[in-house]
């Protein structure tokens, strides 16, 4: 009985187990335990949540390994961590630490303005952000085992996540009605690998799990993304920048399961305390927009 590790089945399989769940940004062991207690299906280990990265500025890098290990020791659920776009050595370090998933993330300052990491070389699975189908399929072509919308992290404003979800899902709908002979030109147009375009058309969905991320702050936001057709949600700053993190975290976990039941959504949305303060995307300067990072 030979054991095969690091296969696509095993990497994509972990993402499949996260579906219908909430992945929460945490910055220490205590927050990680609150997330686990609230029913999070995984946590993202960070030094600073995106809202603080935005506020403080400067170069944002991979977190200190000590911080990541502290969080890994604190919980039994999968622990993810972020590396910079194109920074394959940060990714090697995260793999060596034993994190369960790596997010090659536009929230951190990119290390390479042309190339993403060759994710096929790693045993650990990767998740990457995407704004449209071409970007999603390029990342999958590089070996990503999971895709998420980029949204606009650290704003508490869901508008960009909705835009990116509608773009990806709308383009897939268009693809499913396309004649096969049109697919090569379409692959060229969106800059995506042809084989993945054909596979996506056949499946009627991305070949990997597709989560929403970037600006989700309330149970209603989470349910909105699920009703649009996403497989689950990441909540970054939205939980631990709010007034009552445990209560809000529990409510968002339930909202992702009961996304189609307005009565339960009404019940769990009540009396959650202060949400995080949001930012209107239109007042951000172009260089402050994280979603434009990635190529």
């Amino acid at each position: 009985m030979e054991r095969v590790i690091g296969s696509d089945t095993v990497k994509r399989g972990l993402a499949q187990m996260l579906k219908g769940g909430v992945i929460m940004d945490v910055t220490n062991a205590e927050q990680a335990q609150i997330a686990e207690e609230a029913g999070a299906c995984a946590v993202m280990a960070l030094e600073r949540v995106p809202a603080d990265i935005r506020a403080q500025g400067g170069v944002a890098r991979m977190a200190d390994p000590e911080k990541i290990l502290e969080i890994m020791r604190a919980v039994s659920i999968p622990v993810m961590a972020k590396c910079r776009i194109g920074h394959f050595v940060e990714a090697q370090i995260l793999e060596a630490l034993g994190v369960d998933f790596i997010d090659e993330s536009e929230v951190l300052t990119p290390a390479d303005e042309e190339h993403h990491i060759d994710k096929r070389k790693f045993k650990v699975p990767f998740v990457c952000g995407a704004r449209n189908l071409g970007e999603a399929l390029r990342r999958i072509g590089e070996g990503a085992a999971m895709i998420r919308t980029k949204g606009e992290a650290g704003t508490g404003n869901v508008v960009e996540a909705v835009r990116h979800a509608r773009a990806v899902l709308g383009e897939i709908r268009r693809l499913t009605t396309m004649a096969e002979e049109e697919m090569m030109a379409y692959a060229k147009e969106i800059g995506a690998p042809y084989e993945l375009v054909v596979e996506t058309a056949r499946l009627g969905r991305l070949p990997v799990v597709n989560f929403a991320a970037g600006g989700i702050a309330t149970p209603a936001d989470a349910a909105l993304m699920m009703q649009l057709g996403m497989d689950g949600v990441f909540v970054g700053s939205g939980i631990f920048k709010s007034g009552d993190p445990l209560k809000r975290a529990r409510a968002i976990v339930q909202a992702v399961t009961y996304y189609n039941d307005p009565y339960i959504l009404a019940e769990i949305s009540r009396d959650l305390g202060e949400p995080m303060v949001g930012i209107n995307i239109s007042i951000l300067r172009p260089e402050e927009r994280l979603a434009t990072r990635g190529w």
Binding site: R3, V10, G13, L18, G20, C41, A42, T257
Partner: protein, 191 residues
Amino acid sequence: MKIGVLALQGAFLEHEAMLRRLGVQTRQVRLPRDLEGLDGLIIPGGESTSIGYLAERRGLLEPLREFALSGRPVWGTCAGMILLAREIVDGIPGQPVLGLMDITVRRNAFGRQVNSFETDLEVPTLGDPPFPAVFIRAPVIERVGPEVEVLARLEEGSPVAVRQGNLLATAFHPELTTDARFHRYFLGLGR
């Protein structure tokens, strides 16, 4: 025949797709009332702490126990196996579970995701060829009670598929493969 798939969190759509391929009707179970009229239930893989919390929050634990005690087949894969187990090692304190099978299960027994693996598993009940077993941050069974039949073991001897009457548990994920033999075996438990 109509089989429910617990749809609180995790890979429930994959189980439904496999059951439909076998011509079986399915229903997603999120609330106690969804259990009415079902002939069997699958508890899918996902995070056992997440599924347990959601089941407790909506009053599903007791109805799920009653469903299993009624003699209808119930199958837990991975996280589902943890929920069925009477005893859990390396769980979190107070983790809500069903506690129905006389087994002790260790969570994340193979380590972290980089140790997740695929292997061809001998399952005598299913015959040849070996079953393509996908283990993802998988649990193993450390102890089985006298009423529990072991259906498959890893080479070092750890049980990874067990049956106790109408209850079935696997540490791996038949729903992530195209091999429907475990699903057929499960459907046969009800007859």
